[in-house]
Symmetry: C2
Subunit: 325 residues, 2 copies
């Protein structure tokens, strides 16, 4: 079944011009805007650019076990044959693994890291759950790129995500430099929805995760947005973090260096934005690409549960406590 | 006919390890080393890295007429059907035009610019001629890349260039930035010759100029050299100049931006290093890829011939003059 009214029309037979989004970018309203780790400078920048970059957010040592676990997964035959692993069409090497947080307790805990979860809740203005988690791998001299696209365009068209109320956290497991195919973004592109031409083929995801054919914005729109906002490619050591809004246009080039590039992606969606019927596709995608069953709110993971609730309460609540005494 | 002894063996059936070059990098010897526009800091850097970068060498205005002339050439049907124009295998757009200096008096004068020619003569330690001239074009969102290679490897194997005594001058006709597929180089790689596997197919150049299949160094050697010297991609406005030694490994990635990238290449060879029989190919390549006929030394072009020989002579020659008086 396909919806009769589509908030963000795409996969069209006839072109429609890009239009300004109506959804907020920061969803926490009024006083709630500042209830979280991000200050107003960061919030305004996220609203303007559609992403925030934290160079060396975690130290590199903390990333090592995840990289090791990934290498183990690459040798796991059963996993490799499952639909969760996408292979490069040219080389046969692993391109993506989906559902990392369900495969591994370590990755699951990482999605619930208080610092990340605090920022994500603040940006989405609600409790959140994992819509999709994946790792994108680019081997030295090999990993092919990803064409320009908006994730939201696919999640709306193929997964029935109603509104722009999701954010991707991309955590670098290896250094990202100028030459190993880092993520590129067009700052400010998230303000526009770019309807794409071409009907969604049945079972499109079987091919689209290797090389996207539909859901690709036209070159004129891309050129205009890049002319306006430029292109940026954040670079930094393993442990760096990129938060980017679900509608920000992004891409990446081939890895022409000998240095591998592995980036982890956790997509957080608001619990008030769960999936419905796809807007422009005949059937739903599998659970590991678009969660429908496991949508309960994430709780923060505390590495030191025995110290829970340490900290100084805000001034106001302390006053209230005193008044009660 | 193929030579019996090959100074730099390549296009092999059995692998040979990379070996240190025996040829000089700066060819002007002793006192002659400093007879020219490059100072010792620049000469030493060229010897160490295998290239020199001059950001904004010419002003952008001076480049405009060349870019205009190039656009005219793109519309020249006869030229497009000639062997001088190479089209992109994926898009059909122009990828390269060869023999620019023979097609256009403007380009010819540019090859004889006193500043460029002065540096090139100093580096090669002799009079020089144009071995090959070409323009490499990358349209927005289109231009595909070039894999890692040494130009000298091809010129030796397929053109019979005896020694490493040539230098490429690459002049940017458009801005080169991080996103439109700038030239990447491995500093220091020119110190090693990397023999390549795979016999040269007959008429190889018909395919190799679209996408190189033989003459491609193995990944292990590339990784070692990049680990040692890193990778650099000089960036700057139209009018910037790159001088790079004929054996420096270089490559470029796809242009994923809307911004076109056009770079002009003039390959200067020493008149003492003219071509012989190919070392590892059955027949010679066409004249527009490897000059054999027009090898007379280039003379400097002076925009103001009526002011010829203005300037202050060196102190020594003035003393001699006085003594004569």
């Amino acid at each position: 079944m396909i919806h009769k009214t589509v908030p963000f029309p795409s996969r069209l037979k006839q072109p429609i011009s890009p239009f300004l989004r109506t959804d907020p970018v920061v969803h926490a309203r009024n006083q709630h805007r500042w209830e979280g780790p991000l200050d107003e400078v960061s919030l305004s920048r996220y609203e303007r650019d559609g992403f925030l970059w934290f160079e060396g957010f975690f130290n590199q040592e903390r990333m090592l076990p995840f990289f090791e676990e990934l290498k183990e997964m690459a040798n796991d035959e059963k996993l490799n044959k499952s639909g969760r692993v996408i292979h490069d069409p040219n080389t046969g090497e692993i391109r993506s693994v989906f559902g990392m947080h369900e495969l591994s307790e370590n990755f699951s805990r990482l999605t619930r890291d208080p610092r990340i979860l605090g920022m994500v809740r603040q940006l989405l203005g609600s409790e959140v759950y994992i819509h999709q988690s994946r790792i994108n791998d680019k081997y030295g001299f090999e990993g092919s790129g990803f064409d320009w696209h908006s994730d939201f365009e696919t999640w709306h068209a193929e997964d029935g995500m109603p509104r722009m109320r999701a954010v991707s956290a991309s955590l670098m497991l290896t250094d990202n430099n100028e030459f190993n195919g880092p993520l590129m973004l067009i700052p400010g592109s998230h303000h526009y929805f770019v309807p794409c031409l071409g009907e969604t083929p049945d079972l499109n995801w079987r091919e689209s995760l290797k090389a996207q054919q539909v859901g690709v914005p036209d070159r004129d729109s891309l050129a205009k947005l890049a002319e306006r906002g430029g292109i940026e490619a954040p670079k930094g050591p393993a442990g760096s973090l990129l938060l980017f809004e679900c509608n920000t246009l992004h891409a990446s080039n081939t890895n022409m260096s000998p240095w591998p590039r592995s980036n982890l992606f956790f997509v957080y969606n608001s619990v008030e934005n769960t999936l419905g019927e796809p807007y422009s596709a005949k059937r739903e995608r599998p659970e590991h690409l678009a969660a429908r069953e496991n949508c309960s709110p994430l709780s923060m993971h505390d590495d030191f549960p025995e110290l829970a609730n340490q900290g100084v309460p805000p001034l106001q609540s302390r006053r209230v406590s005193r008044a009660k005494i």
